[in-house]
């Protein structure tokens, strides 16, 4: 297997999919403008397929854990072996503890969104460590997509909590009558500060994962036997830490926009 191929090339429809993108999108305006070289779109296709694979893996694992949960009498006493249900329980406990510490008593409302994102990012990061697989989070499109999802989510909850005050707070953070005279200065500053959040989430995650995988592949290329082991360990660490970082910062942003005393 050469450097540019992956296990996805063994899929029967994969070449047809690449051909579809090549025929339909390689001459679109965005690529002619020189913003992205033509070859980049094929890299993106690999990442989209990898993201779909992660979603399928997560769906299957969740269904298996859910089926296990339905057998209540078996769940009351935890299994001595490591099962899927145990792994999910540990994961949910960690996510809930982060959210409880950061958001406070009202954390339960946000568990589905933050937990789903954390699961997707963790599995995406880890799948890149398997030789021949591509990590979806190795691509800025995936990570900024996750960041934008968080951006929309905390704004929706900001509106839910503060109503129109969520918007007026951007123009008049002090909340005084004379604060409105400073609105032309504050509005652009606050808007830039707001728009930077999804970008910062996405760039941090993608940067760390790209760097991690580059180092791993560089050393695996030097000597495939034993030498990559410490870098695999570092990769595992980076994957876990970056998931926690994304999860924690999402919670911080949610709490900043939903706390009653934040406005």
């Amino acid at each position: 297997m050469d450097h540019h191929s992956s296990w996805f090339h063994l899929l029967p429809f994969y070449d047809r999919l690449l051909g579809f993108f090549q025929n339909n999108f390689s001459e679109s305006v965005i690529f002619r403008s020189g913003l992205f070289p033509k070859e980049r779109i094929f890299e993106t296709v690999h990442h989209i397929i990898a993201a779909l694979l992660v979603v399928i893996i997560l769906a299957i694992l969740s269904l298996m854990a859910n089926a296990r949960l339905k057998q209540i009498e078996k769940c009351l006493v935890p299994s001595p072996k490591i099962t899927i249900l145990n792994i999910f329980e540990v994961f949910v406990q960690v996510v809930i503890s982060i959210m409880k510490d950061t958001i406070g008593a009202d954390y339960r409302r946000y568990v589905p969104m933050v937990g789903t994102l954390a699961l997707f990012i963790l599995v995406s990061n880890l799948i890149g460590l398997i030789p021949g697989f591509i990590s979806p989070t190795n691509n800025l499109n995936t990570t900024i997509g996750c960041g934008l999802l968080v951006f929309i989510y905390f704004n929706i909850h900001g509106f839910r909590t503060h109503g129109i005050g969520h918007l007026t707070h951007l123009a008049n953070p002090m909340g005084t009558w004379w604060g409105w005279f400073l609105a032309p200065l504050f509005l652009p500053i606050e808007l830039i500060g707001l728009c930077v959040r999804p970008l910062s989430l996405g760039i941090r995650l993608a940067g760390n994962m790209i760097g991690d995988h580059k180092v791993l592949f560089a050393f695996a290329g030097l000597m495939p036997f034993l030498l990559p082991l410490p870098f695999y360990f570092l990769g595992l660490l980076v994957s876990l830490i970056q998931t926690v970082v994304f999860c924690l910062l999402t919670c911080v942003y949610i709490s900043l926009h939903t706390q009653e005393d934040s406005h």
């Binding site: 510490d101 950061t102 500053i189 500060g193 728009c195 959040r197 910062s200 926690v244």
Partner: protein
């Protein structure tokens, strides 16, 4: 518990650092597009960069103020 709080503070501090730099970048890019659209070069870029710097500084200021308050009052961990 102490290390957990320290870890959370490291993450939040690193986030502020990245946001500071990105604010300037986003301000500059917005200013550049204003220049292109309204043909006001180079004022859009200058004003955009200044607004970006102000946004980054404000984020840093809020973070430091909350951190100082937290340490001064010895309160529980807060969000910056």
């Amino acid at each position: 518990m102490k290390y957990k709080k320290a870890f959370r503070t490291y993450i939040k501090t690193s986030a502020v650092g990245l946001e500071f730099g990105l604010s300037i970048g986003i301000g500059a890019i917005l200013g550049y597009f204003l220049d292109k659209h309204f043909h006001i070069s180079p004022y859009g870029l200058i004003i955009g960069t200044l607004f970006g710097m102000a946004a980054g500084t404000k984020r840093l200021w809020t973070f430091v103020k909350t951190y100082a308050k937290k340490n001064g009052d010895n309160e529980d961990d807060q969000d910056y």
